[in-house]
């Protein structure tokens, strides 16, 4: 029951934008908003996946991983390396801390 309801709900949510709107061009003002959705949502994802833990904000090994990732990005490292570095830093910190 839960599985079906969640699956159906998610399918409808995911499909509604692309299927209803389709290829129709949006008015310029709306386009201006849509163009900013990606940076706004990505930044929110960065913030919540790095510092969120349930309903709490925490600074843990993930934050150190994120800091290293930020440095790697400024040095123009490829995305793959950035991700691996962040995970490795967090893993090492947890290993040492535990």
């Amino acid at each position: 029951m839960i599985v079906l309801a969640v699956a159906l709900g998610t399918i409808v949510i995911k499909a509604s934008g692309p299927v209803v709107l389709g290829g129709r061009p949006l008015p310029p003002r709306v386009q201006g908003v849509v163009a900013l959705l990606a940076p706004a949502l990505l930044a929110a994802l960065v913030a919540t996946t790095a510092f969120g833990s349930g309903q709490q904000l925490v600074i843990d090994a993930r934050a150190a991983g994120l800091a290293v990732a930020a440095v790697a990005i400024t040095l123009r490292a490829p995305v793959l390396l950035v991700v691996v570095l962040a995970a490795a830093v967090a893993a090492v910190i947890r290993l040492v801390g535990a």
Binding site: I13, A35, L45, T48, A61, A69
Partner: protein, 262 residues
């Protein structure tokens, strides 16, 4: 492809930023002969499909391991159950929402609470779906299929900035992530308790790093930077007060600064 030597009359050198004019020329020449032979797909499409899939691989490993822990959690006593977990991974394909539903159930919560938690988390796919809508080509059914492969990671990988998305990169990344997620769930259900905790491997730290790496090239304008800072601030401010998922949906409001006249 066979005719794409020398000049390419009528081809626009700026067909797509980042591609050589030759590639766009190749694309145009190939477009006309796309039905000849078995594996004929315009080069940029195959290129983007592969690029999406390759970019998604490190994440697919992390996603697969989270799938394992979802499987383990669901198969445990009082969980969702083994088969429902696999069905859910294959159809819902949204890790955080599935974890939310599974942990509500495992914690003794009722079905309405589990459903509400999961759908609230997935509500972010409404603005995300709107943002990719213009970039998904083809008929209704094709757009519907592509929309189901949209997850945070595939959406971020497909982003070209300025609100444009590459549909083929989206599909390539989405397919790899879907396979990893479902395979991971099956492994977890079948007997993943012997496997380690993903957090010990630092895999949870992979996600913020990925999102930051994908955010960085988007910050070309002052407005984009403002939207990002505002979005992060809204999300962080709401985390302590709202159920997980709501902060990310609310952060979409930061994009409204796009309404301000330049």
């Amino acid at each position: 492809m066979r005719t794409a030597t020398g000049t390419c009359p009528g081809s626009s050198p700026s067909y797509e930023a980042g591609h050589e004019p030759f590639v766009s020329c190749l694309f145009r020449a190939q477009e006309t002969s796309a039905s000849i032979g078995g594996m004929d797909q315009p080069a940029p499409i195959r290129f983007e499909l592969r690029r999406g899939a390759v970019t998604a691989i490190p994440l697919a490993i992390a996603v697969g391991l989270f799938g394992v822990s979802f499987g383990v959690l669901s198969a445990a006593d009082g969980g969702l159950g083994a088969l429902p977990a696999i069905v859910m991974s294959a159809t819902t394909f949204a890790g955080s929402a599935q974890f939310a539903a599974a942990s509500v159930v495992a914690g003794g919560g009722g079905a309405p609470a589990a459903i509400a938690a999961a759908l609230l988390l997935n509500a972010r796919y409404l603005p995300i779906g709107v943002s990719v809508a213009r970039s998904l080509p083809g008929r209704r059914l094709r757009r519907f299929a592509a929309s189901q492969l949209v997850v945070d990671e595939s959406w971020a990988i497909a982003s070209d900035g300025e609100g444009r998305f590459d549909p083929h990169r989206l599909v390539g990344a989405g397919a790899v992530l879907w396979l990893a997620w479902v395979a991971g769930t099956i492994i977890g259900v079948v007997g993943g308790e012997a496997l380690g905790d993903p957090a010990a491997l630092g895999l949870d730290a992979a996600f913020p790093a990925l999102f930051l790496a994908l955010l960085a090239p988007q910050l070309g304008s002052g407005r984009a930077i403002a939207a990002a800072v505002l979005g992060a601030a809204i999300a962080l401010a709401l985390v302590p007060f709202t159920p997980p998922g709501v902060p990310i949906i609310a952060a979409a409001a930061a994009a409204l600064i796009g309404l301000v006249r330049r």
